[in-house]
Structures are given as structure tokens and as C-alpha cells.
């Protein structure tokens, strides 16, 4: 029961954020950048401004909605890059074995040793701030778990009957990996990807908070928090709402990922029942 509830809550949160991001242009009552009005800065939440206004008099609610676009874009695309890298490396390493396996294994260990936020920060220092750099920095630094899972699943699949049969039938290596192995490891890869999206949203917020991610005036939850930090005494709402948005989004993806894992894992299912 609890499991189902968590999964549903996760799904609801994620759907809300996705809707917010897609419909931002229609729903947002104000322009997130242009509607600055110093006369109405630091106003508390009201009917006019549901989440109040920030230090430059911009509507926090509108900026949170537009910020969802940045967060989701970074989360989804960077995790997609991670999944593709991790799966290709992991499956090929498990399938071919030998020196390639050793190399991929070594690389994975190195990647695990460098904390992904530190690595991403270093890459951002080289590429400079902005959306494309964020996608590269976060897309290249968080594939090690996917790679490990893909590799170990491939190792256990490769000696099973249906893979051997495909081999005997004369399928090429690439073809076998694509048609026989890949569909069978998608479950765990999807679970890690869902959890990874939450992680990427957090990292984007952290990098933008540190001033190396999305640069103002373009709204991102991270740089909104960074601006609001100075106003925490007089306008705490400018900090509370973007943070809540990050929290709700990451929580949504985490609950979704946990729920997916429980559903896909037959071992967990029997134990819970």
C-alpha cells in the first residue's frame, strides 16, 4: 500500500513539474525577466503575486515556472547522455570482456572516485557558464552506476540460452547486443536513470547557486536561491519557493525511481507481499 502511494505521489509531483515547464508561457502571470519593477520589490505573497516578488520586483511564481524548464531540460538531457554512455560502455564491456572490460572497469572506478559535483564544477570552469556547458558537464560525469549495472547484467545474460542461440544462428555482435541484451537490461537502467534525473536537477541547482551554471537574468532555481540569499532577512519567500520547487521535483523523481525498482524487482515483490 505504502509503496503504491509513494509511487503515485512521485508521479503526481513529476507530472506537475512537467506541466509547469511546458505551460509556463501560458500560465505565468508575468514575464520572468522583463517585468522587473523596483517600486514593487520584495513584496510578500499576495493574490497578485502568489509567491511574492524578488529584490527586483519580479514575480517569483512566474520565475519558478520558467525555472522548471531549465531544471527539466538539464535533468532529462544530461541523464540521457549518461544513460547512453553508461549502457554502451557497460554492455560492450560485459559482452566482449578482455582488455576492453578491464579498461572500462578502471575508468568506472576513476569516475566513482571523483565526486560528480566536483568533476562537473571543474568542467564548468573550463567551458564557462551556460546551458550547453551544463548539459556536457553533468552528462559526462554521472554514468558510472549505469555502466556497472549494465555490465553485470550483461555478464549474467551472455551465457544464457537465447543469447547463445542467437550467436549460433549467426547474428553479429552488435545485433545481439541490440536485440537480445539491451531489452533485458532496460529495467534497471531506467530505474537508475529516473533517480539520476533527480540528482542532475540538484547538481544544476547547486552549480547555478555557485554562479557557474545558468547566469542571471535567465531564471533557474539555483540562481534564484543565490540572489535570494542576500534578501533572506527581508524577503524569505524569494528563497523558500524556488527551494521548495527543487525539493518537490527531486523528491518526485526519487519516489518514482524507488517505486519502479520495487515493481521491476521480483525479489523485492515477494518479500514485501
Amino acid at each position: 500500500m505504502v509503496l503504491r502511494f509513494n509511487f503515485t505521489l512521485g508521479l503526481v509531483l513529476v507530472v506537475l513539474v512537467v506541466l509547469g515547464a511546458i505551460l509556463a508561457g501560458h500560465v505565468a502571470p508575468y514575464d520572468p525577466i522583463m517585468d522587473a519593477d523596483l517600486m514593487s520589490s520584495e513584496m510578500p505573497p499576495s493574490w497578485e503575486h502568489w509567491m511574492g516578488t524578488d529584490g527586483q520586483g519580479r514575480d517569483v511564481f512566474s520565475r519558478v515556472l520558467y525555472g522548471a524548464r531549465v531544471s527539466l531540460t538539464v535533468g532529462l538531457i544530461s541523464q540521457l547522455i549518461n544513460s547512453v554512455i553508461g549502457t554502451s560502455l557497460g554492455v560492450s564491456a560485459g559482452y566482449f570482456g578482455g582488455w576492453w572490460d578491464d579498461f572500462v572497469n578502471g575508468l568506472t572506478n576513476v569516475m566513482l572516485a571523483i565526486p560528480s559535483l566536483v568533476f562537473a564544477l571543474a568542467i564548468m570552469a573550463v567551458l564557462g557558464p551556460g546551458l550547453p556547458s551544463l548539459l556536457i558537464a553533468l552528462g559526462l560525469t554521472n554514468w558510472s552506476w549505469t555502466c556497472r549495472i549494465a555490465r553485470s547484467s550483461t555478464l549474467s545474460l551472455k551465457n544464457q540460452g537465447f543469447v547463445q542461440a542467437a550467436k549460433t544462428a549467426g547474428f553479429g555482435d552488435l545485433n545481439i547486443m541490440r536485440t537480445q541484451i539491451l531489452p533485458n537490461i532496460l529495467g534497471p537502467v531506467l530505474v537508475i536513470a529516473t533517480l539520476g534525473i533527480g540528482g542532475a536537477v540538484l547538481s544544476e541547482a547547486a552549480l547555478s547557486f555557485l554562479g557557474v551554471g545558468i547566469r542571471p537574468p535567465q531564471p533557474s532555481w539555483g540562481n534564484m536561491l543565490s540572489d535570494a540569499r542576500e534578501l533572506i532577512r527581508t524577503a524569505p519567500w524569494a528563497a523558500i519557493f524556488p527551494g521548495l520547487a527543487i525539493f518537490a521535483t527531486v523528491l518526485g523523481f526519487n519516489l518514482l525511481g524507488d517505486g519502479l525498482r520495487d515493481m521491476l524487482d521480483p525479489h523485492m515483490r515477494t518479500r514485501k507481499a
Partner: protein, 311 residues
């Protein structure tokens, strides 16, 4: 045992070398060096002669491979290079930052253990209860919480409104300064520990030897103490060790938020002025801390659990 420790130590070397190589390569493709960013800011180093001089001084006029070789040669002699900004040896810049960072990581872990372990334990003793569900909600929330936002809220409530604690800064030996950053940083390991402890206890509770002990009529408190706790301890210690290893890297945003003079804030500050030698040094220290702690965990593991084969 000595052979195991030696082998485990030697295993770190290739990983460390690979990290050095990756970091070095990333930073040698930097478009625009520290010197060009100095020039664009219109500070000293405006004429070509000074530029050449600086390039020579930092060895930037040499080919990439020569620079890599020089860097590795320096590292082999525990020399991390010279900071572009302060012109001091990088180690002198990093060294005073080490202890604050380690202290923060340990205090955060202390908070995580004191709160997380009992939560996980109590939750597992009554699986499916309201307390259990509540604990798991706290755990998954703790893992989703942006720690810099949580830190900002703590600052707002406990420092600015209630005035109980200082809002930021560092004083050697001051406990009051470390409380808020340690809690902000400790929330996610706390959540992880609660989860791990709960899963571990549940696993052991369903094990055959516990069922046997219970069937023999062992009282529940004694059962929990002598059979369950002892077996879960290894799992908890491992999780804690690995978390401490990762905390120095996770701390960068919290350190920056609370103006904590650790490795993390040094890294962020050096990134913004492109003080590459210091950035490289700070990353290496963070990775080394992670690897050493992992090694210690492995060795402790082999010491306390006789089932692990050493050889």
C-alpha cells in the same frame, strides 16, 4: 594481513594517476589562461613583455607533454605547483583548509549517525507501522533535499530569527559555528543511514539464526542486542565510512553558503579566478581523501569480519 594492506594501498596508485591525468587534460584545453583573464580585467600584466615573463614563470610556454611530466615529477616529490593567484606553493594554500573540512565532515557524520541509526533501527522493529512509514518519508525527503536550501532555512530560523547560533563563519575550536553547517551537510547521510540500518535489521531479523534464537525463547531485547545489532554493525560502519569519504566532495556548496574555510570553498573560489594549480590540488585532495577512507573501510572490514578472505 600486511600483504592485504600493502596491496590495497598500491591499488590506489593507478586510480590516482588516472585522476591526475584527466584533471590535467581538462585544464590544458582551457580557452584563455589565468593570464589572459588577468589582462581582460585590466589589472597588471598588460604588456606583452610581462605576459611572456609570466608564461615563462609558470612554465606555460612549454609543450603539453613537458608540462604534464613536470607536474607528475612535482607530485612525486609532494609538490603541487605554485598558485597563480597568491604565488605561494599550492600546498601552503590547501593545508590550512584541510582540518576545517575534515572537522565538518566528521561532525556531519556524527549528526547523521546519532539521528539516522536509531531511526532506522526503531523503524525496522515494527515494519509497516506508522513510525516506520514516517521514518521512510523522512529518509526519502532527506535524500531529495537541496542541502544549500536547507542550510539557508536553518540560517534564517536559528541564526537570524532566534539568534541562537552564528549564521556563518569559522572560529577554530568553536562548536557553535559548526552546528548549522554540520546539520545541513549531515541530512543526506542521515537519510541514507536510516534506510540502510532499516534494511539491514530487517534482513537479519528474517535470518535463520535469529529465528532459532527466538524459538529457543531468547528475550526480545537480548535478541536485538546480541544477535541483531552485532550483525548489522558491519553494514552500518561500512556505510558510514563510505559516506565520510564522499562528504568532502559533497560539502562544497554548504561550505560556500556558510563561508566555511574548507577545501570546498577554496575549490569554488579558485574556479572563479581560474587558479588552475589550486583547483587541481583541491580536486586531488578530495579524491585522495575518498580513496584513503575507502581503503581504511576495506581493511577494517577484513579485520572485523573473518569471513572475508585475506591473501
Amino acid at each position: 594481513m600486511m600483504r592485504f594492506i600493502l596491496r590495497r594501498t598500491l591499488q590506489m596508485i593507478p586510480t590516482m594517476l588516472a585522476v591526475v591525468l584527466i584533471i590535467f587534460v581538462i585544464f590544458s584545453v582551457v580557452p584563455g589562461s589565468f593570464i589572459t583573464s588577468l589582462m581582460s580585467e585590466g589589472r597588471n600584466a598588460t604588456n606583452a613583455q610581462v605576459l611572456t615573463h609570466l608564461n615563462e614563470q609558470f612554465g606555460l610556454d612549454q609543450p603539453l607533454l613537458v608540462r604534464l611530466w613536470n607536474y607528475l615529477w612535482g607530485l612525486a616529490h609532494f609538490d603541487l605547483g605554485i598558485s597563480y593567484r597568491t604565488r605561494e606553493p599550492v600546498w601552503n594554500v590547501i593545508e590550512p583548509r584541510l582540518w576545517p573540512s575534515i572537522k565538518l565532515a566528521l561532525c556531519a557524520m556524527g549528526f547523521a549517525a546519532v539521528v539516522g541509526i536509531p531511526l532506522g533501527f526503531l523503524a525496522a522493529l515494527k515494519p509497516g507501522s506508522v513510525f516506520d512509514s514516517g521514518t521512510m518519508v523522512v529518509a526519502v525527503s532527506g535524500l531529495s533535499l537541496p542541502e544549500f536550501w536547507f542550510g539557508l532555512l536553518l540560517m534564517y530560523v536559528f541564526a537570524l530569527n532566534l539568534g541562537w547560533l552564528p549564521s556563518f563563519g569559522y572560529q577554530p575550536g568553536s562548536i557553535r559555528h559548526i552546528i548549522l553547517p554540520a546539520i545541513a551537510l549531515g541530512v543526506s547521510p542521515m537519510a541514507l543511514l536510516a534506510r540502510t540500518t532499516r534494511a539491514g535489521v530487517l534482513d537479519v531479523m528474517n535470518a535463520d539464526f535469529v529465528r532459532t534464537a527466538r524459538a529457543k525463547g531468547l528475550a526480545e531485547p537480548r535478541l536485538v542486542r546480541s544477535h541483531v545489532a552485532r550483525n548489522v554493525l558491519v553494514l552500518i560502519l561500512t556505510t558510514m565510512g563510505l559516506q565520510i569519504g564522499a562528504l568532502m566532495g559533497q560539502a562544497i556548496v554548504v561550505e560556500k553558503l556558510f563561508s566555511w574555510p574548507g577545501i570546498g570553498s577554496l575549490l569554488v573560489d579558485s574556479v572563479s579566478v581560474r587558479d588552475i594549480p589550486v583547483v587541481q590540488g583541491a580536486v586531488l585532495v578530495i579524491v585522495l581523501w575518498f580513496l584513503v577512507i575507502n581503503m581504511l573501510v576495506d581493511i577494517t572490514y577484513a579485520l572485523i569480519d573473518p569471513r572475508i578472505k585475506v591473501g
